[in-house]
Symmetry: C2
């Protein structure tokens, strides 16, 4: 390059420092995205952690990240069998080691034989490793009492989030009044609103009934869709069951009603069922949308389009970092399935290690196998603890004046309603913050407890909530709840 | 649910079988996506494999998938040290095992200490694990002879594809004539055209100079941008160096010219440098865009926006399945960096196992460390073999009448130009196929060799090519090349 030419040209093409080309014109849909679970409160938590490390004194010694469902970060131990199989797949020399059980070796060999070059380091088919999709289908069939599942309808994904955003990407189209409307619960998990923003689709809110344990009421779906039809084309209905952040477990009757509504309105059903193993209330049971769909008869099972999602991240395995997941699609037209595979192939494949983890989630040791007893003990311990903590959290929150908490029937969060006094609402407004963001920031600054304001999930106007995970170990969770209680009482006094 | 109500309503809402709601109105941008590397030819290869399994006789006994850069699927063994560290991270009980070297244990401990709950099963920060980003920055600094890299500018990704599509998602905006134009080389790696379709951006082609070893000529960039300005707002310039599918390695002079052009035109530079370790020609060296940018002085290094991509999938490690990668951004405005982290946080984090693999790619054993010798031997063996195969492929192709192959200076593909006789072009048209697709289909059906037609990457009108990887082991590659030669000669005779 000739420097002289550059210097001459510099004059004709000035670029003022601090005004890079991209800033004024970045993608407005990306700018519109919000994702509270890792939003400003979590950034603040990170800053406080750094201050603590630097020795700055605080009224607490550690930040407790109860903002995200990240079990192992809270000290939950991985399920031994899963990690044994993964280690064997990673470093197959270990297949000769006497310190691994034979059933784990058998699994590892089965997975490796299905991988290119017998290695986790090869790309898989874009839809996922064949034998893992077969194991997923077998799991669904068992789970649903024999309702058949076809491996051809299973797509392995990079966590459930990837599956949900991919299927939404396929479904969204149109402009103006024919732009696709996507119905989501309020409160929702903010992945939905974020992807809807990214895709420039139309978010159609339906409200869960807080007075009725966050139940889904089909009349509310009818209200929402009628209003939406004025300005968009509602085509997709998203359901989160068990609920996130709300923790309700839908009744079979309610699922039937929703399916009938989807059939009637020709909606594509998205069933986010990643908490299917996390049901704690003795009166509740998980019913999959797939099973209920089939039990409603061929008019439904042959016509209603459904995608259901599961993940390695939740359940009792809690393997968030592996980013494993699957989606099952029902009644998706073969041409669309072709389009889906094409779209997935652009990103080549989901992480093969995450696919292997998904295999163990859907196909854990069976009774009689060498590893079964240890596996069973570990599983029951995790789920038993979660059930204890769900009840404990509900009970303790409901002891606090100005806090009301619905039963945590499932999932891994409390979403209590909090009373925020008028003076605190005014103080929040002075700080240009939502009142519950103001509350959560104060909670973080005074106690080190990081929770997510309800406004990040959506809530009825004038009500305030926060989402807190129940993942800390029991004794720590008790301390956390006591601290929230003390904070809340002081907060009410301060802004009385 | 009341069955009676359903039956009554069924009459009012008929949904004809085979016409699901989604089909007529799926996302047109998704429909427009094309991705040849896993396109129709690869589907056909899968069908043929199934036929072979079912015992159907063919003129060959196996399909050789030379369509995709998937080293381990072609029998390349993983680098031992990488897999040892990964196994230790996966199943930390192994940290007590005497059969793992101490340096691998030290690495595993360092990575685990930086993970939530000391586990690969926790989510990481959305930008990636801190200490891994530090290792990436240290690697870049070493690679670029001391030009500093800031861990804050490093984002770990789910393979390079994820990074490239994420940054493009941020950059694309506008409508009509102000829609963002993205300049890409022709031939290109079809991730680019696919993402541009998905985002409804405008693809602006610049042609590489086949007569000149696929060099990039800045005059061609000028021609392309001038024409594009009539109908869009060109804002991004994508470079693939070493080239995919074309295998050229850019000279330092050429990189300077490109950077100056980007500075002049205020373009955001996307440097796809995933083949930075794959340079074979003794006359060529890899120069990173970052290093050249800094050496050109502050007017450039403080102003030109650059994102550079690397991956665990290529190089000599070939760990495609782990989906590890990183991107380094330069001169990205702090507000845009905030927007980027927000966007990444919606998908929570890249797979933590892929992040760990990336750590070993950028930080392999150093001289003096216990594992260095074995590592060095393995690395040299892979790269030495690739260099041998690059030369062999070039030489053998150029022996065949009607095939011309530029030198494979880098990457892992040959992209020979093939002469297709008029009669074959007519036969292809009769089958509604591109002539080179017709050629590749015949090659697959007659020899079992799966390569990708040049039309999947783009090529000058009237020229025909295919892309073939050089990953099969040497002896197998020789057989493959001989078979292609025989096929080509017969093809020329048949359609003479």
């Amino acid at each position: 390059m000739q420097r002289a030419a550059v210097l001459v040209r510099r004059g004709c093409c000035p670029r003022a420092a601090g005004t890079p080309a991209v800033l004024p014109s970045m993608n407005p849909q990306v700018r519109a995205v919000e994702y509270a679970v890792r939003g400003p409160i979590v950034l603040k938590a990170g800053e406080i952690e750094l201050e603590l490390q630097r020795g700055i004194k605080k009224p607490f010694t550690e930040v407790i990240r109860a903002n995200i469902g990240d079990a192992q970060a809270m000290g939950q131990q991985p399920i031994t069998f899963l990690r044994q199989v993964m280690a064997l797949c990673t470093y197959p020399n270990l297949l000769d080691s006497p310190s691994f059980p034979e059933d784990a070796k058998k699994r590892a060999r089965r997975i490796l034989q299905a991988c290119g070059g017998n290695s986790l380091g090869s790309y898989s088919a874009s839809q996922g490793v064949n034998c893992i999709r077969e194991d997923v289908a077998a799991y669904i069939t068992r789970r649903d009492g024999g309702v058949p599942a076809d491996p051809d309808n299973i797509y392995l994904t990079t966590g459930a989030s990837d599956g949900i955003s991919t299927i939404l990407k396929i479904l969204v189209s149109g402009g103006g009044k024919s732009r696709t409307g996507v119905m989501i619960p309020i409160p929702q998990y903010p992945l939905y609103s974020a992807v809807i923003s990214e895709l420039d689709a139309i978010q159609v809110n339906y409200y869960l009934d807080e007075e009725n344990c966050w139940a889904l009421n089909v009349n509310e779906l009818r209200r929402a869709i009628q209003e939406a039809k004025d300005h968009c084309d509602p085509k997709v209905l998203c359901i989160i069951n068990p609920g996130n952040p709300t923790g309700q477990v839908q009744s079979r009757k309610c699922i039937e009603d929703v399916i009938h509504f989807a059939w009637e309105e020709k909606l594509f059903l998205l069933a986010d069922e990643v908490y299917q193993d996390n049901v704690y209330s003795p009166d509740c049971r998980f019913h999959s949308f797939k099973k209920v769909l089939y039990e409603m008869g061929p008019e439904y099972s042959s016509n209603v389009e459904l995608a259901s999602f599961h993940s390695t991240s939740k359940g009792y395995m809690g393997e968030c970092g592996y980013r494993g997941g699957y989606m099952e699609v029902i009644n998706l037209h073969p041409e669309i399935k072709g389009q889906l595979v094409k779209l997935l192939s652009v990103r080549l494949c989901p992480p093969v290690s995450g696919q292997a983890a998904m295999d163990i989630v859907v196909n854990p040791p069976a009774p009689g196998e060498e590893s079964f007893e240890q596996f069973h003990r570990e599983k029951e311990s995790v789920l038993g603890n979660l059930a204890t903590k769900a009840k404990l959290t509900e009970d303790l929150f409901n002891e606090v004046p100005g806090i009301h908490c619905n039963p945590l029937q499932g999932a891994m969060y409390a979403f209590p309603r909090i009373f925020i006094p008028t003076k605190a609402v005014e103080a929040a407004q002075a700080h240009k913050m939502a009142p519950d963001m103001f509350y959560c920031m104060k909670l973080l600054e005074e106690t080190g407890i990081c929770v997510v304001p309800g406004s990040g999930f959506g809530q009825r106007e004038g009500t305030y909530h926060f989402r807190m995970t129940i993942l800390p170990p029991v004794e720590k969770l008790k301390t956390v709840l006591q601290k929230v209680k003390d904070f809340h009482i002081k907060f009410l006094e301060k802004y009385a």
